[in-house]
Amino acid sequence: MRNDSTQSTIEVGALKKSFGAQRVLNGIDFQVEQAETLAVLGKSGAGKSVLLKLIIGLQQPDSGSVKIQGEEIAALKPDQLSEVRKKIGYLFQNGALYDSLSVEDNVAFPLSHNTKMPAAERKEKAKELLASVGMERDLNKMPSELSGGMQKRVGLARALALDPEILLFDEPTAGLDPITADEIGELIIGLKKQRKMTAVVVTHDIHGVKKFADRLVLLQDGEIALEGTFADMQKSKKEFVVRFLKDAC
């Protein structure tokens, strides 16, 4: 399928996903436009992380569709899916760094497998990426030697390695102290300005959402309880939205 100027970067339509008897997503619809940052909010277990995994094709939906730049993810062959994934960076909740590789090798890993870049150039690019997240002094450390915040920074550098057009963040600030959480939030804002990337951020951090999200969706019982801007959320009279906002602040 070819791209056209009117299509959204990410289109999610009537998406359903269950695990056994538990229905996690029950007909989700939303779009994310080019260079837009969408925050996905909801209680723990609301299916936010599952939604990200469905977007990148790590899990298969029961029904519904996910399109990335017009391409239906579920219909792609493995090599076609790999090509789409090269356009997407994914920051996992706990970094998901390869624990047998050093920090530098973790960041260079996608480059060594998806590009023909010479080793010296890969090394240089890994250094640059790590410098951009403030980790240039920890190149030779192993993931087990890093704190949670440092692991997320390295995970972010790895997610940026292939210069993706889309970034998916899974709880980028969860489990971090307020200062480190703020630094990660600043990094996301910086990326948005510099690279004009499309981003989907799954988060509980309502203060962060205020700063970096253009729009948000709030999930409740597998459905979208609210879709709009942060101001729309503040104005909403829905009981769940009001309670969520009150508890989150």
Binding site: I56, I88, A96, P110, H113
Partner: protein, 283 residues
Amino acid sequence: MWLYVGIVIFGGAVSGAWPGFGQLTKEAGLVKNLLVRFFEWFGDLGVFCWRLARSALTPPYEIRELIRQLDAIGAMSLPLVALAGAATGVVLSLETSNSLARFGAKSMLPEVIVFSIIKESGPVITGLVVSGRVGAGIGAELGSMKVTEQIDAMDASAVDPYRYLAVTRVLACILMMPLLTLAADFCGIFMGWIATTLSHSVSLRYFLNHGLQEVGFSDFIPPVLKTTVFGAIIGIVACFQGMRTTGGTEGVGRSATSSVVLSSLFVILADVILVKLILMFFP
């Protein structure tokens, strides 16, 4: 009846839930569940093998990771395999020496030791030692990578985890098993001679001349090559169990245990079939 018992025991092994036999008779639902898991496991294993074959046969090939795995699986297992082979040689010498003396055939001791080790003890001991060391290692490593989302991260980075993680480990197991078996055979025969010569002095030349004089191509090559099948079993079962891990650290423990249990079980079962085939083709 035996098939039924086998299916229930195997279902328990793959599901990680061993029921009490009293419970089995009472709870038909549990038996049904184990039966479903039994067939589900084989179905999933079939899909896994198909994906593995597809990743193994199409480029790019992960040569660097394969070399790393050859070292981790082969070189690192060598001391343990050599020790197990040596112990087998000593035990064979001590046990068969007395038995042969009873029948007045003590002069046959070198032949018995060499034939036992080359044809059966060496390959099977190597298979079981490697399934213990390597099977547990692969099951735990990949299981841990699965529960910490490292395998998902690899997939998300457009790197095929089957190609990078599973194909390299399975190939390393297949390639290293014959070499490890040769090491076990060598240590077994050598320590068999040491144990023999300690009870009554026999020169190494005499021991080897007598032991090896009747050994032909069909006695030596097929048993060594059959260990490639053991290697494939160990690699495939351990990678499969590791990559389907669920349930956090407890799940990692379960995967490591089931990798060892199932790969050992299949190595023994495969040995029965392979011995029969070898006897058919190399009588």
